[in-house]
Symmetry: C2
């Protein structure tokens, strides 16, 4: 299945997700890891479309999301930068492009190493709370406190889904 | 906002719905009315995209679906035929194209007046149960019985949503 760039934009306007996960990680100095992700989730009946997206972009992974849901996803920074270049020149039509813009801001901050500083991390968390649902109160609370270092314990305070090991933001609808 | 045909296909692959509603209607001889509908639902923040779809196709309505959800919809048979011609020459990539094909079959049957016969109506109901969720048991039960005439009472047996007066099929996901 060969995909046309405009089709990809329309499909991502409908089904795509630009997401910034922030996850506790005691092995990094600041105690948190920023994981930006571009993702398209589909029912397994449309696995071939996910693989076609992978072929279209030339990178990324197709893997199970949960149950009958599968996803095409990109997490590597250099590849996300390429995704960013594509959607910069092929403009999204829905308000998802606001999320995309915020996503690109986070990528830029990460390229500048700002996710490794307390201040930068807080700023990224603030941007992340505005994305997708515009409502990620746990993340906001977490980042507002003075815990942005390494006293890390409670996994339920992270944005990580403990069952699947995957981020599962509420869909933007 | 100007839309490109391929973008429209991608967006409809993600967000579009081809739906066949069957509704009790004592004013028609056979007791039931077939209402095929092409619909794209979005949060109100993307109303401008729905209006752009209306401009793109050159017909249809933009109206409230429920709460913050709005829809672009087409119900007129001649206009649905044009929608059919468009997606025939601009092929959907996801399995939604199977629903689309069934939808076109129903349109053809209606053009032949078969929805006005007991046998034709049953056949349309059978096709409708396969669409969208593949699971509309009430409709199947309704059509299997010998009630496909005019002894019409219970509104809860129809596929019509009694609150909004709109069809609300489960989304195909």
């Amino acid at each position: 299945m060969q995909l046309n760039p405009d089709w990809v934009v329309g499909f991502v306007d409908g089904e795509g997700c630009f997401f910034v996960g922030i996850q506790r990680n005691p092995t990094v100095k600041i105690g948190f890891q920023v994981i930006p992700e571009f993702r398209v989730v589909q029912h397994k009946r449309d696995l071939d479309v996910l693989y076609a997206l992978k072929t279209f972009f030339g990178f990324g992974r197709v893997c199970q999301n949960h149950d009958d849901r599968w996803e095409y996803r990109v997490r590597r920074l250099d590849q996300l930068r390429e995704v960013g270049v594509f959607f910069q020149s092929h403009r999204l039509k829905t308000k998802k492009r606001v999320d995309f813009q915020r996503f690109r801001d986070v990528l830029t901050m990460m390229e500048e190493g700002r996710h490794l500083t307390k201040e930068g991390l807080r700023e990224i968390a603030k941007i992340a709370t505005l994305m997708n649902t515009g409502n990620r109160p746990r993340l906001a609370a977490l980042m507002d406190e003075d815990r942005v270092q390494s006293d890390v314990k409670a996994p339920e305070e992270t944005e990580r889904n403990s069952l699947s090991g995957k981020f599962r933001p509420a869909r933007m609808e």
